[in-house]
Amino acid sequence: MRALVVFLVPVWLLAQPALFAQPAKDTCVECHTAMDGDLQKPALLIKGDVHTASGLSCADCHGGDRLIDDPSVAMSKAKGFIGKPARTAIPQLCAKCHSSPDYMRRYKPQQRVDQFELYKTSIHGKRLAAGDETVATCIDCHSVHDIRAVKDNQSPVYPLRLPDTCGRCHADAAKMAKYKIPTNQLAEYKTSVHWAALSKRSDLSAPNCASCHGNHGAKPPEVESVSAVCGNCHVLFAQMYEKSVHQPIFSAASGGGGCIVCHSNHGIHQPSVAMLAGDKAVCSGCHEVGSAGAKAAGDMAGLLNGLDTALTRSESTLTQADKYGMEVSEAQVKLLDGKEDLVKARLMMHSFRIEDMRKPIDAGMGVAAETLRAGQAALHDKDVRRIGLAVSVFFISITVVAIWLLLRRQESDGSGYIEAQASQMTKE
C-alpha cells in the first residue's frame, strides 16, 4: 500500500501542470488592485505592459520585495524601495536596464542600448539635466505602467501614433510658451504628403517626427543638414540639389534652408509644376517676373507640362482603344516608360539646369508620340474592322436572301416535299 502511495503521489502531481504554472507571487499588484483611484491604476495598467510579459514587475523599477505580504517590509528602504522616482531620475532609472547590454541580451538581444546616451545629447536631455522638469523623459513618450513595444499599434510611439504623442506637448501653446517655439508643426504635418502616406496608405515607412528629428537624440536639423535629412529617403533629389546653383544660396539663408525653402518643412504638400510658374509659384518668391530665373522656371514648367500633356493624351487614346477591345497592352506597358521619363525630368529639375532635363523630356516625348500612334492605329483598326464587318454582313445577307428566293422558287410547285402517304409508299 505504502509503495503504491509513493508511486501514485508523484504521478498525480505531474498530472497537475497548473500547480507548476502558477505565476510568481506579486504582492504589489495584489494589494494595489484592491485599492482605489491613482493607487489602483498602475496595478491595472501593468497587465498590458511589455515588461510584465517578460516576467518583470513593479519592484524591478520601484524597488521593494514583491514576495512579502507585509507592505511595511515589502516597501521598506531595506528592501530597496524607492517609491515614485523623481522626473529627473527617470531616464537614468530606465537606463539601468536599457543601457546594459548584458541585461538586455536576456530579453531582446537585438535591441540598441544607447538610448540614454542619445537622450543626454538631445534638447530634452540637456534641459532635464539643467533642471527643467517639464521636458520629455522616457515615460512621456513611451507611457508609464502600460509600456508597449514600439511595434505594438497601441504604443504611443507606434509610427501612426507618434505625431500625436509629440504633439501632446509641441502642439500645446501653453506648454511651449516658455520655450518660444511654434506649436503649429503637428497641424501642418497633418496636411502633408508624409502624413497622408502614413495614415491613408498605412505606409509605416513614411516619415513621422522621429524620421527627421531623431527619437532619443531628438534635435531639429540645422540649416546645412536639412537636405541631408530629406536626402535619407529622397537620395537622388538631394544629389541633384547638392550640385545646383541654389545649394550655397539656400544654405546661407536664415530661418531654415535646403529643401524647405521651396517645399516647407512640416506641411510638405504634393509638389506640382505650379510651384515653378504661375500665381502660386514658389520661384517667384525670389525671382522677379521677367528675370532670367523666372524665365528658366517658366521654361522648366513648360517642358514638364508638355510631357505630362502628351502622355495624358496617349493614355486616354490607348484607354479608349482598350475599351473597344483592341489589343494595346504593349503600348500601355511602353507608356510606363514615358511616365518614368517624366519622373526623371522632375528629378533632374532639382539641379535647376534646363539642359539636364532635356534628355528625359525628349525620351518621354518619343514614348508619348509612339504610344499615341499605337492608340490611334488601334482606333483606326477598330473602324476598319467595323466597315469590314458591315461589308461582310451585306454580302452574307445577299447570299441568304438568294438562297431563300431559290428555295421559294423551287418549292413553289410543292417539289422537294413528300406528302405523308407518298413517303409511306416510297418506303414500301
Partner: protein, 353 residues
C-alpha cells in the same frame, strides 16, 4: 470537263452512292423541325474551330515563356490574326452552347429512343470532348485568369474520390500547373481531342444517316410530311450557317476576345476567379456546398453527385423508355426542364456572385 472529272472520280470513289443517299434522304416536317438545325450548326462551328485552330498553330508557341507573347503577336502583328483568334474563341463558346441546345432538343423531342441509343451516347461523349476542348484551350494563352482558373479546375478534378489525385497529376503533369501542363494541354487540344472528336463525329453522323431523323413520339412517322434533305434542307441549313458566320464576324469585330495579363504563378490569384461559363453552374454548386456533409467533404460529395448525374444522363435511353420501348415523356421532359433550369439559374448566380 466537269462531267468527265466527276465520272473519273465516280469510277474510283463510287460517288454515285453518295448521290443516291443524298437523293433519298428526307427530313420530317413538323412543329419541331427547326431543332434539327442545331446539330448542323454545332458541326459547322466545329469546322470553323478546325480551320481557325490550324491557322493559329502557325504562330502559337506552347511554352510558358512564349505562349502569351505569341498570342499577343497574333492579335497585334499578324494580318487578320485578331479576327482568327477572336473567331476561334467566340466559336468555341457558341459551339458548346449549340451542342447543349442540340442535346436538349433531342431530350425534349425524345429522339434518344431505340434505335438511337448509340447516337445519344456518342453525342454525350462528343459534348464531353467539346468541354475538354474548352478546358484545355482556355489555358493556352497563358494569361492570369486562365492560369488560375485551370488551377481551380485541376484542384476540383483532384478532389474526385480514389482516382482524383491521379487525374489531377496527369492533367497538370506534376503537382502544380506549370510548363508541363501547358505542353500537355496543347497536345490534348490540337491532337488527342481532335482525333477522337473527328472519329466520334463520323460515327455520330453515320448513325444519324443510318437511322434517319427521329420524329417526336406524339407524331406518327407515317403521317408526317417529309422534306428532301438535298437540296431543300441542305440549303436551309446553309442559310443558318451563313447567319452563324455573320454573328461570329460581328462578335469578333465588335467584342474582340481579350488577352488579359500574362500569367504570373507567384502573384496572388485575381479576385473573382471563375471558370468559363459552361463550368460555372457546377463551380457555383461546389461553392455553395458546406465543407462537410454527413461524413464526407462537401466538395467530394458534389463531384460524386455530378458524376452520378452525368452517368444517369448518358443512360437516358435506358431509363427514359418503358418496357415497350416508348418514351417516358413526362419523366424525361421533367428531368430536362429541371436540368435546364438548374444550369441557367446556377450559371447566372455563378456569374453575378
Amino acid at each position: 470537263m466537269l462531267t468527265t472529272t466527276l465520272a473519273w472520280l465516280n469510277d474510283r470513289l463510287g460517288l454515285e452512292g453518295i448521290r443516291e443517299v443524298a437523293a433519298h434522304k428526307t427530313v420530317p416536317v413538323h412543329s419541331a423541325t427547326r431543332w434539327y438545325y442545331f446539330g448542323g450548326i454545332t458541326l459547322f462551328l466545329f469546322g470553323i474551330q478546325v480551320v481557325t485552330g490550324l491557322l493559329l498553330m502557325f504562330y502559337y508557341r506552347p511554352t510558358v515563356a512564349e505562349a502569351f507573347d505569341s498570342v499577343r503577336f497574333i492579335m497585334t502583328r499578324v494580318e487578320f490574326g485578331w479576327l482568327i483568334r477572336s473567331i476561334h474563341s467566340w466559336s468555341a463558346n457558341l459551339m458548346i452552347f449549340m451542342a447543349f441546345v442540340h442535346m436538349f432538343s433531342v431530350v425534349f423531342t425524345h429522339a434518344y429512343r431505340s434505335p438511337r441509343e448509340l447516337t445519344w451516347g456518342s453525342g454525350i461523349a462528343l459534348l464531353g470532348l467539346l468541354l475538354g476542348f474548352g478546358f484545355s484551350g482556355y489555358l493556352l494563352p497563358w494569361n492570369q485568369i486562365s492560369y488560375f482558373a485551370t488551377k481551380v479546375g485541376a484542384d476540383v478534378a483532384g478532389s474526385a474520390p480514389i482516382v482524383g489525385p491521379a487525374i489531377a497529376r496527369v492533367l497538370r503533369g506534376g503537382e502544380d500547373v506549370g510548363a508541363a501542363t501547358l505542353t500537355r494541354f496543347f497536345a490534348l487540344h490540337v491532337m488527342f481531342l481532335p482525333m477522337l472528336t473527328v472519329a466520334l463525329i463520323a460515327f455520330h453522323v453515320i448513325l444519324v444517316q443510318k437511322n434517319g431523323m427521329s420524329t417526336p413520339p406524339w407524331l406518327s412517322a407515317a403521317n408526317v410530311r417529309q422534306m428532301k434533305f438535298f437540296p431543300n434542307f441542305f440549303l436551309r441549313e446553309a442559310m443558318v450557317w451563313y447567319i452563324a458566320l455573320a454573328v461570329l464576324g460581328a462578335l469578333a469585330a465588335i467584342f474582340p476576345w481579350e488577352l488579359g495579363e500574362k500569367a504570373d504563378p507567384f502573384a496572388s490569384a485575381p479576385k473573382g476567379i471563375r471558370p468559363e461559363w459552361y463550368f460555372l453552374a457546377q463551380f457555383y454548386t461546389l461553392k455553395l456546398l458546406p465543407s462537410h456533409v454527413w461524413f464526407m467533404e462537401g466538395e467530394l460529395l458534389g463531384i460524386l453527385g455530378f458524376g452520378l448525374v452525368a452517368a444517369a444522363w448518358a443512360l437516358l435511353p435506358v431509363w427514359g423508355v418503358n418496357k415497350a420501348g416508348e418514351a417516358r415523356i413526362r419523366l424525361v421532359s421533367g428531368a430536362g426542364i429541371f436540368l435546364v433550369a438548374y444550369l441557367a439559374v446556377f450559371t447566372y448566380l455563378g456569374y453575378v456572385k
